[in-house]
């Protein structure tokens, strides 16, 4: 085989493989979107050929509390990320810059919060939350979401801080900036890629979280992941409405992921100071 033919074959195989993978990855999404346009009657009888209808959207968006669920999701996921950033960035700085007793042990302990399966810890947490009055509250969910988001932010941002040579801080101090100005003007821009990508990842994780809100909330506060199960009624299953709820709730994650895709990979894999 000549080299050009070889190259061509390689290209065909590569693109063929990618095409197969993209079908594998995207088909469930596509299927979900198709379902949203089907009426209940056509749900189980048709595949690709059907009469599209917007009834499901109307039903979900106008006749249920859909926007309240979305609002709840935004508040708990956004709040969780905000708390994680506000507390995690200083913690990451401390882990990167200061020497203290049992530093690595504490850092590992924080990471280990992510090890336990949610379902394992959620029952004791349920009892604790009942007693503390945190059950079914924004604060309670935001708090428990720290298990999801805090370790990630601390570990990613810590790596970024470690990559910034401490002399850069010293130089900025000598240049006439106080510590807060040094942080905002010199450190923050350098950790930004890591901070943004890990924060967005945390947001997606928190948004998608199901076990915690299912068991620790669900009456007054219903994030969309939990609320979506409502469309599984006792006797009937409105697949179309469920698909609408799922599709719309998946949108933020997908949009974020697409927007930051490039930065996400770079932010999580590169250091702060490339040179």
């Amino acid at each position: 085989m000549s080299p050009t033919a070889k190259k061509r074959l390689y290209a065909v195989l590569k693109n063929g493989g990618l095409a197969i993978y993209s079908v594998f990855a995207l088909f469930p999404l596509l299927w979900m979107v198709i379902l949203t346009f089907k009426s209940d009657a056509e749900m189980l009888t048709t595949t690709f050929v059907f009469t599209p209808t917007l009834d499901n959207y109307k039903q979900v968006l106008f006749y249920t509390d859909y926007f309240r669920y979305i609002k709840d999701s935004v508040i708990v996921a956004g709040g969780a990320v905000l708390v994680s950033v506000l507390a995690g960035v200083p913690a990451a700085y401390a882990f990167a810059r200061y020497e203290f007793k049992n530093k690595e042990k504490i850092a590992f302990q924080i990471l280990s919060f992510k090890f336990a399966p949610e379902i394992l810890v959620v029952l004791p947490l349920y009892m604790i939350y009942q007693k503390l009055g945190l059950y079914d509250s924004y604060l309670g969910l935001i708090w428990v979401y720290q298990l999801i988001s805090m370790p990630l932010i601390i570990w990613v941002v810590r790596g970024y801080f470690e990559d910034i040579s401490v002399e850069i801080e010293h130089a900025a101090q000598v240049d006439g900036y106080n510590w807060y100005q040094v942080f905002l003007k010199f450190l923050l821009p350098l950790i930004k890629p890591g901070l943004v990508s890990s924060a967005l990842l945390c947001f997606i994780f928190a948004w998608n979280s199901f076990t915690f809100p299912l068991l620790l909330a669900g009456i007054k506060i219903e994030p969309i992941t939990v609320a979506a199960t409502k469309y599984l009624a006792q006797s009937t299953v409105h697949y179309g409405q469920m698909a609408v709820a799922a599709t719309i709730s998946a949108l933020p994650s997908i949009i974020f992921a697409i927007c930051i895709q490039k930065h996400l990979v770079r932010g999580l894999s590169f250091g702060a100071v490339k040179g």
Partner: protein, 391 residues
């Protein structure tokens, strides 16, 4: 512009002591060099003056003010860091402009446009001086090490600080640029008249730049003096070895006294070297048996034929270092480095004779390695005094 004083400064990091009772007084407008081997504590001294580190004990004074409790931002010092410490997310222009934009050193606090106009002028002036005016739009990652170093210098020079602190600012430049920058730095300092403290481990840099040098080892000041004082009257063998390349020869000698009390012979490797009569030296070596004789390589001479008073040895090695060569001669079990011209026709192990200018030698106590004296000490002192008068 200010006088800098360190009084009994000690700095510890955990259990290691980085500085032990360092006392230094740096005069206003002086170009002061901190010189010593790696890990001696030179950078720690700079950091303590800049306020990046706070000493556990002792006092740091800038001008007449004790600054132990003053933040680095308020000390009005400019520092060049060894690893440049450029801000990677800012262009060269913004890096140099950074101190002039800081809340502390802004020229025009209320008028941003005026401030920026001033910055533009100042940055361009410095950039032209540093020959980086074509690089102003680049990021530090797009620069070579030499260029980065010049940006770091530029960032310090753009201000009018009390003191310039420079931590090996020329270490990463290529030889040609280093020489050019060395003379330029000296010129600039003379022109600005700003007190400068300069850290280096290169004795040539130290000698050519400094008004005075402090030799530091293991966190302690070993000796403070002008280049010539330190070169000709090193406080101990360590200083003597550090100053000078090729390194000074140190010979273990036994003093042999004739006529009862007078010092006149020294038994170096199995042969006697006649020493001139010198009463002060005789007094200082009273009761000593062993001394070390320090001889700079330029004060030892080689001969291919036996001359009176010469030592017989063998060629041990011959290396060319630029415009001259170092010939190492083995005499007994001691090695003597001798300066020789390039291309000297010698073969290894060939027999060769050396003579020593004993009147240029520096004598050290064999036990403590401390300086004892030299025959022409009076002349050296006179030279130093004369230099001090000129300055």
């Amino acid at each position: 512009m200010a006088k800098i004083e360190l009084i009994n400064v000690s700095k510890r990091f955990g259990k290691t002591t980085a500085l032990k009772n360092v006392t230094l007084e740096i005069q206003d407008k002086e170009f002061f060099v901190l010189f010593g081997p790696a890990g001696a504590g030179k950078t720690t001294i700079l950091n303590n003056i800049a306020g990046i580190q706070i000493p556990e004990e002792g006092m740091v004074r800038i001008g007449d003010e004790v600054v132990n409790q003053v933040d680095p931002a308020d000390r009005n010092v400019a520092m060049v860091f060894e690893n440049y410490a450029l801000y990677p997310h800012m262009t060269v222009y913004d890096n140099i402009a950074s101190p002039l934009r800081s809340p502390r050193y802004k020229k025009f606090k209320d008028n941003k446009a005026q401030n920026e106009a001033y910055i533009k002028e100042a940055v361009h002036k410095v950039a032209a001086m540093m020959k980086i005016d074509k690089l102003l739009e680049r990021l530090p990652s797009q620069l070579s090490n030499g260029q980065r170093q010049r940006v770091a210098l530029g960032r310090a020079l753009v201000r009018e600080p009390n003191v310039f602190l420079m931590d090996e600012p020329l270490a990463h430049l290529d030889a040609k640029l280093r020489n050019a920058m060395r003379s330029e730095l000296k010129e600039m300092q003379t022109a600005f008249g700003t007190t400068s403290i300069y850290v280096t481990h290169d004795f040539m840099e130290a000698m050519s730049l400094a008004n005075r040098i402090a030799v530091i080892n293991l966190g302690e000041i070993i000796q403070v003096g002008t280049s010539d004082e330190i070169y000709y009257m090193p406080r101990n063998e360590f200083v003597a070895q550090l100053m000078g390349d090729p390194e000074i020869n140190l010979l273990e000698c036994t003093l042999v006294r004739e006529d009862g009390s007078s010092l006149c012979w020294a038994e170096c490797p199995e042969q006697l070297i006649p020493m001139p009569k010198h009463e002060e030296l005789e007094e200082r070596t009273e009761g000593m048996e062993q001394i070390h004789v320090g001889l700079r390589p330029q004060n030892v001479h080689y001969h291919f034929e036996k001359v009176p008073g010469a030592f017989t040895g063998n060629v041990y090695s011959f290396e060319t270092i630029g415009n001259k060569s170092v010939l190492t001669v083995q005499v007994g079990d001691q090695h003597l480095r001798v300066i020789a011209p390039n291309g000297l026709p010698v073969k290894l192990d060939q027999e060769i004779f050396v003579t020593m200018e004993i009147d240029r030698a520096i004598f050290f106590d064999a036990g403590t390695t401390e300086y004892i004296g030299r025959f022409d000490e009076a002349a050296v002192k006179e030279l130093v005094a004369e230099q001090a008068k000129e300055a």
